[in-house]
């Protein structure tokens, strides 16, 4: 492989990793706080992308879509958590099953509303060209994705470590029950966390759409990748989402280039290796949730 191709693939791997971070962070956050693996996470991702499609059709602006879709998903999360999940507080496995049902409904309804053909979303004007880098041309949009991923990681870390909300979230990840006993409104915190997770999934959907397009089954791909990222990196920790996405992004990209048909076997090998050595993921904690 020429150094130019190598560099291109490296950037591809990084942009995919950045995308994975945006996608996986929400899943990891919800699990860390609520001990629930939101299996509708992929469906939320998909909904975000399709909503963006409609918003762009309506307003012509990708940026408005990038704002509106996550907000809409956040609102959806804000409704679903108290409506459904809260009733099963403490029954973690059942809550996960609930999210499966939600996923079935959301994905089917997306098909009803938007149809089941393959769609595409153009990158926003200004970012749809290439940038000359190290002798080759690289899509500007993918550079934007890398930048966005880093920026988001920075913002999230800042909120996480420097704000009161972040402190509550960190404490909640550690021991939500204790936090409730200390007088913090757990109901509101959980609802907000779930909403944030949904919003992040929606954001990932919008950002990914110009690169990957929109088609039935994209929810499953997104869910699988986010699960692989957080399992490898470590469930419940933001750092885990970073480590996981930095590992899986390039691994998947290079795997596809080198092994083509069996790229996923590369991922499989990484997941298996991590699990055998550290069952809770690279940075994860032991969670006994039933």
């Amino acid at each position: 492989m020429s150094s130019e191709l190598l560099f291109q693939q490296a950037l591809n791997g990084l942009s995919f990793g950045a995308l994975l971070f945006i996608l996986a962070a929400g899943l990891s956050l919800v699990f860390g706080m609520m001990d629930v693996v939101n299996l509708a996470h992929g469906a939320f991702y998909m909904l975000g992308a399709y909503l963006a499609l409609s918003v762009v059709q309506l307003t012509g602006s990708f940026w408005v879509a990038m704002l509106a879709a996550p907000l809409a998903l956040g609102l959806l999360g804000l409704i679903l958590e108290p409506l459904l999940l809260r009733r099963l507080r403490g029954r973690h496995l059942d809550q996960v099953l609930l999210t499966i049902g939600v996923s079935l409904i959301v994905v089917d309804q997306i098909g009803v509303v938007w149809g089941r053909e393959v769609r595409s979303l153009a990158a926003p004007a200004g970012l749809d060209g290439s940038v000359a880098l190290f002798g080759g041309d690289y899509p500007a949009y993918r550079l934007f994705v890398i930048g966005l991923g880093i920026a988001l990681a920075a913002v999230v870390t800042l909120v996480y470590r420097r704000t009161a909300l972040g402190m509550h979230i960190r404490a909640g990840v550690e021991d939500a029950q204790m936090l409730g006993a200390l007088g913090v409104d757990i109901d509101r915190l959980f609802a907000l966390t779930f909403a944030a997770g949904a919003a992040l999934a929606g954001l990932a959907g919008v950002v990914a759409a110009p690169v990957f397009g929109l088609q039935p089954g994209m929810d499953v791909d997104a869910l699988l990748y986010s699960l692989v990222v957080v399992v490898v990196g470590g469930l419940g920790t933001l750092g885990g989402a970073v480590v996981g996405s930095v590992l899986i992004g390039p691994a998947d990209t290079f795997g596809k280039v080198l092994f083509q048909e069996f790229a996923l076997a590369v991922i499989f090998a990484i997941v298996a290796l991590v699990l055998l050595l550290r069952p809770t993921g690279l940075l994860g904690r032991i969670r006994i949730a039933r």
Binding site: V37, I105, A265
Partner: protein, 318 residues
């Protein structure tokens, strides 16, 4: 008094089930009911095998389709590529391939519990799906394997739909007896013990990881047999058969029907297939209906239809 009636009644019911296409031949020449019932029974076998894990063993697997599909592909490949056309061989191959895959995946997932176990089974099954989707030379890739010929049982050709149905229903009855025997055996009680308190079971001297693995492999093998039957019934295998959709369908069947019971997975299979085949022609939102059903049962009737029936029965007797 009631005990005396159960066995003869069951025998009659079983006989009626197996001979269904023959005594409905007059008013059902299109064989639609037979086909639906056949598919229900195939999925009932699949759901019963999943219930061994979910209901009895407390191991919530969302990747069970990996073994169903593996069995289906094995049967298809055996018939189409290897020219094997004897049923015992192909069914045996399907069960073996599924068992081997279950051993591989099981070894990796069996040390985790609850939600973590669920996620891992889901992830690994999806990876199997991706391999099936891309390994075109063996699995036919996105096209799958089509036009699979049905095997022979000795000299009997199983191509006629009636005979295929008899095979499926007979296998279903055999699996029911098998699951019933396993559930009631000391091994079955050990599984329940692990489900209820794995820590204590270890303290008692049980190697719980290995026992869970054995249940995983057993359930996987039965799922593989269901998959082979599906391949022969539909004469078609696709990557969807290993996909997450199939895993979720089975889970919905188990939960809606009633986990941990013998009738539950069977009833669940009937309900899900009814929604998918019959309801969906009237109202094209089968998945939404299933999703709503699933959510409703998880929220309100966790023990499934069997649980509702049991509660109603208990209330009537008071």
């Amino acid at each position: 008094m009631r005990r005396v009636f159960i066995w003869p009644a069951a025998a009659i019911g079983a006989a009626a089930l197996v001979t269904f296409p023959y005594w409905t031949a007059e008013w059902e020449s299109s064989r639609f009911a037979t086909t639906v019932l056949r598919d229900i029974l195939v999925f009932a076998i699949f759901a019963l095998s999943l219930d061994l894990l979910v209901g009895r063993g407390g191991m919530p697997s969302l990747g069970h389709a990996a073994f169903f599909g593996a069995g289906a592909y094995a049967a298809g490949v055996a018939t189409q590529r290897l020219g094997t056309d004897q049923l015992p061989l192909t069914l045996g191959a399907a069960a073996l391939v599924a068992a081997a895959l279950a051993l591989l995946i099981g070894t990796l997932v069996v040390r985790s519990e609850g939600i973590f176990f669920l996620m891992l089974t889901l992830a690994f099954a999806q990876i199997v799906f991706a391999i099936a989707f891309q390994w075109t030379s063996v699995t036919g890739g996105s096209n799958g394997l089509a036009g699979i010929a049905r095997p022979f049982l000795g000299g009997i050709d199983l191509n006629p739909p009636d005979r295929m149905y008899v095979l499926v229903s007979a296998t279903f009855l055999a699996v029911v007896l098998l699951v019933r025997a396993v559930a009631g055996s000391p091994y079955g009680r050990v599984l329940v013990g692990i489900r209820e308190n794995e820590r204590r079971m270890r303290a008692l001297g049980y190697d719980t990881a290995r026992i869970r693995l054995s249940a995983f492999v057993l359930a996987g093998s039965i799922a593989g047999i269901a998959g082979a039957l599906s391949a022969y019934s539909l004469r078609f295998v696709s990557a969807q058969d290993v996909g997450i959709g199939t895993s979720i369908r089975a889970f919905v069947m188990v939960l809606v029907g009633g986990a941990g019971t013998l009738a539950g997975p069977v009833i669940g299979a009937a309900v899900v297939l009814y929604v998918e085949r019959i309801l969906s022609s009237a109202v094209p939102v089968a998945e939404t209906v299933l999703g709503l059903l699933f959510v409703a049962f998880v929220l309100l009737a966790r023990q499934g239809i069997v649980g509702i029936g049991g509660a109603a029965w208990a209330r009537m007797r008071r």
